[in-house]
């Protein structure tokens, strides 16, 4: 690994100021499971690494806050996957966080880091999209909150401006009964990137939110509504509706899967995720 300067700011303001001042020379370090690999391989060579883990205002907690579950920027994926409130209220996110890398990776990698890297295949992105997450940011011009649909701009590109840091991610508690699920296809169970992944949330009123990952330059959210989604029948009508929803995807061919295979698997995973989400709807409406 090439040499670099290391800073360990204790406040958000200092961290942000350093990132602004050093611009592209600086890299923010949270879990490090992407950054350190990239530095080890020479793919990134920041002159300054800004370690965020001792920033006092950045928490690793998960807590109820104003009608939402708030996940601190330093919360690691293993903690997200194991948290009882996440599993109960936001199972698609728990499932996605729990399949990333290995235990060792999940003990370091953070949810915030997973979205800030903006990989089109990021497993936590589709769940955050179907849950309508809000990303709370701190930057040189103060705090703002960005809906997750507006957060991803392209591979590796986010709505974060120079010096902006993710402070936390809010998962709004749903108004009525919902069921949700996450499905992914990978070449093996552990330690692989998703070839495609899908999250689904279905409300008791038949509102369906589907989000697709590794199916375009950014994760994609689509919505529809109808009785047809609530019925446990694999009808042509349902197939056609799901097909329509998947039209927004633009999968590519790469080492993990070909474009046609990705399209076919998106259909399969959409159905599976929908079936699981429907089963998870609370019994009485």
């Amino acid at each position: 690994m090439q040499s670099f300067d290391y800073a360990r700011p204790s406040s958000l303001a200092d961290a942000s100021e350093l990132l602004v001042r050093r611009g592209d020379d600086a890299a923010a370090l949270a879990g490090g499971t992407d950054l350190i690999v990239q530095m080890e391989k020479g793919a990134r060579a920041p002159a300054l690494v800004v370690d965020l883990k001792r920033v006092a205002d950045l928490g690793d907690g998960i807590e109820r806050r104003d009608g939402a579950l708030r996940i601190g920027a330093l919360a690691c994926l293993e903690d997200v996957a194991r948290d009882a409130r996440v599993r109960e209220g936001f199972p698609a996110l728990a499932e996605a966080a729990g399949v990333i890398g290995s235990v060792q990776i999940r003990n370091r990698a953070t949810l915030a880091g997973n979205i800030c890297n903006a990989s089109p295949a990021a497993d936590t992105a589709p769940p955050l999209l179907v849950y309508g997450a809000q990303v709370n940011l701190f930057g040189p011009r103060g705090r703002r909150s960005v809906p997750i649909e507006e957060f991803f701009l392209g591979p590796g590109r986010t709505a974060l401006e120079a010096g902006e840091l993710t402070e936390s991610v809010d998962l709004p508690l749903p108004n009525g009964p919902t069921g949700s699920a996450f499905c992914r296809l990978a070449r093996r169970r552990g330690m692989d990137l998703a070839s495609v992944n899908v999250a689904c949330r279905l409300s008791a009123a038949g509102e369906l939110r589907l989000a697709f990952g590794a199916a375009g330059p950014t994760p994609i959210l689509v919505q529809d509504e109808g009785e047809v989604f609530l019925k446990d029948e694999a009808t042509d009508a349902l197939g056609a509706r799901l097909e329509q929803m998947a039209e927004a995807t633009r999968p590519i061919s790469d080492v993990r899967a070909g474009e046609d295979y990705r399209r076919a698997m998106l259909r399969v995973l959409s159905r599976r995720a929908l079936n699981t989400a429907r089963r998870r709807l609370p019994e009485s409406e």
């Binding site: 300067d5 499971t33 690999v37 080890e40 060792q104």
Partner: protein, 165 residues
């Protein structure tokens, strides 16, 4: 501010003060500065698990952690498991089950298993596999490794020896 940073880290129960370079990994410091060569380096990028140690009781890839990030933390390596001549129950179970061939993956496997059994004293085979899925073994085929972990579990439930987590 670059060249060397003072850190204090507890390794296997003993407090160490070191000056580290920002680009030194925890793995490099354990092996090259503290001569704790039980922790192995293989891929250097989080894929193989040979470098697994516990930091504050949790399994991590020491190749993906800067040494400076370990400042103030508690690190447990394979060398910290046995007490004197007495092996840790997991070490014994690995020997008995024939879970060690070349042995290169073994320290990482055992450290992952220590972390698992500390939080889940009675894991299912699926849970044991999941806990160890970040470690590659090129020799054994994993069957005996998983068996060793499951064998060790009941032996550890009374009072573990050697570990401090």
């Amino acid at each position: 501010m670059s060249s060397s940073l003072p850190i204090t880290v507890t390794v296997n129960g003993r407090e160490r003060r070191l000056d580290v370079a920002p680009n030194e990994t925890l793995l490099a410091v354990l092996r090259e500065r503290l001569s704790l060569t039980g922790t192995k380096k293989s891929c250097g990028e989080g894929e193989c698990g040979a470098c697994t140690v516990l930091v504050d009781g949790r399994a991590v890839n020491s190749c993906l952690m800067l040494a400076v990030e370990a400042d103030g933390r508690d690190v447990l390596t394979i060398e910290g498991l046995a007490s004197g001549d007495e092996l840790h129950p997991l070490q014994e179970a690995f020997l008995e089950a024939g879970a060690v061939q070349c042995g290169f993956c073994t320290p990482g496997m055992i450290m992952s298993a220590v972390a698992l059994l500390a939080t889940n004293p009675d894991p299912t085979p699926a849970e044991a596999k999941e806990a160890l899925c970040g470690s590659l073994c090129r020799c054994t085929g994993y069957v005996r490794i998983i068996r060793a972990v499951l064998d060790a579990a009941p032996r550890m439930r009374p009072v573990g020896n050697g570990t401090h987590n």
